[in-house]
């Protein structure tokens, strides 16, 4: 073996090693939670038609969360459709690693029974939950949800103003990204995938 051959073998090995290290790093390194989202969110317990649902029930999964109400004709069904599509795009192998939560800020009209039926229409893995106005106010403050329900009876045709974020919650229960109803579901799926590697 001449010198040139040995040198080129050495270079090839070095390149292979570097590539292997890069791939390994990409696999073990989890994406970081952006600074702006740190301290936002937090655990809660709300009611579903099948009993209480807490955020910590979703540990180990990537969860998409949306705050809205079922009488919302436009934005809420759009957002839930986007969430369902992002979840679907993650595919079969990751199917049980993703979840969705639709939190109604309008408990006067949205009972847990209605909510579960409403949410599961978009994807069976999306649960519908709500709570008392006091519980919802507390969660809204922690999650920076801005909403206002008019002081009208349940049978009145009122609309609820609300912020429109779709929250990506990582397997540790931390908010890792924010989207809305106009985000491309493929982008949301990509961001979810990062936490499931």
């Amino acid at each position: 073996m001449n010198n040139i051959r040995i040198r080129s073998m050495f270079v090839a090995t070095a390149i292979l090693l570097a590539a292997a290290i890069t791939i390994w790093l990409a696999m073990v390194q989890k994406p970081a939670v952006p600074q702006a989202l740190q301290g936002m969110g937090g655990d809660f317990q709300l009611q579903s038609s099948r009993g209480p649902v807490s955020l910590h029930d979703f540990r180990g999964k990537v969860t998409l969360i949306y705050f809205g109400y079922t009488h919302c004709p436009d934005i809420c069904p759009m957002a839930l459709g986007i969430m369902a599509e992002a979840m679907r795009q993650l595919g079969e192998p990751k199917a049980d690693k993703v979840a969705g939560l639709f939190i109604s800020v309008d408990p006067r009209r949205d009972t847990p029974g209605i909510l579960d039926q409403y949410a599961s229409f978009f994807d069976k893995r999306i649960r519908g939950v709500t709570g008392t106005p006091q519980q919802l106010d507390k969660i809204a403050a922690a999650w920076r949800v801005d909403y206002s329900v008019p002081d009208k009876p349940a049978n009145a045709n009122y609309s609820v103003e609300h912020s429109t974020f779709i929250y990506l919650v990582n397997p540790d229960g931390k908010i890792a990204d924010l989207f809305d109803e106009s985000t491309d579901p493929a982008l949301i799926a990509d961001k979810m995938r990062l936490w499931l590697m």
Partner: protein, 150 residues
């Protein structure tokens, strides 16, 4: 004399709306979960005439009430508000689309089915009406074809 001029002027302005000049394209209704009481309809309205057309309302026999709605950001919140009128300028178009201006259908009398044709009637300021057939579309991905998406 002044009164006559005013009357003539009024005639000129009140008789300029012709619903027949309106072309409706891609009218559809969002399929919502069976438990949902409200939904929205969308369409593109093209005014092929030489005069502006002013829309003043809409009705739908399948909904307890219907209306033209606008959308605005109120700080961080999305807020809907009723539109008293929508002007479709001469030679131009107005789009009712998801996330923007839409037709609000409140109090659905029965759950919708993908592919259903919903009849709605638009009213103009000239007292004319325009019948619209909007197809119910299932917007859940992978269901598009049932809803007649192109």
């Amino acid at each position: 004399m002044k009164k006559l001029a005013l009357a003539l002027l009024l005639m000129l302005f009140t008789q300029t709306a012709y619903a027949a000049d309106l072309v409706v394209e891609d009218a559809w209704v969002r399929l919502v979960p069976p438990v949902a009481e409200n939904t929205a309809a969308y369409m593109l309205l093209r005014n092929t005439g030489a005069d502006d057309v002013k829309l003043t309302g809409i009705t739908c026999s399948l909904a307890a009430s219907a209306g033209l709605h606008g959308m605005r950001m109120d700080g961080n919140r999305m807020a809907m508000f009723p539109l008293q009128e929508v002007i479709v300028p001469a030679g131009a178009e107005v789009s009712f689309a998801p996330g923007g201006k839409h037709i609000m259908l409140m109090g659905l009398k029965r759950p919708l089915k993908a592919g259903d044709a919903l009849e709605m009637v638009l009213q103009t300021s000239a007292g004319e009406t325009l019948k619209i057939l909007a197809t119910v579309r299932d917007m859940r991905m992978g269901h598009h074809h049932q809803g007649g998406m192109h």
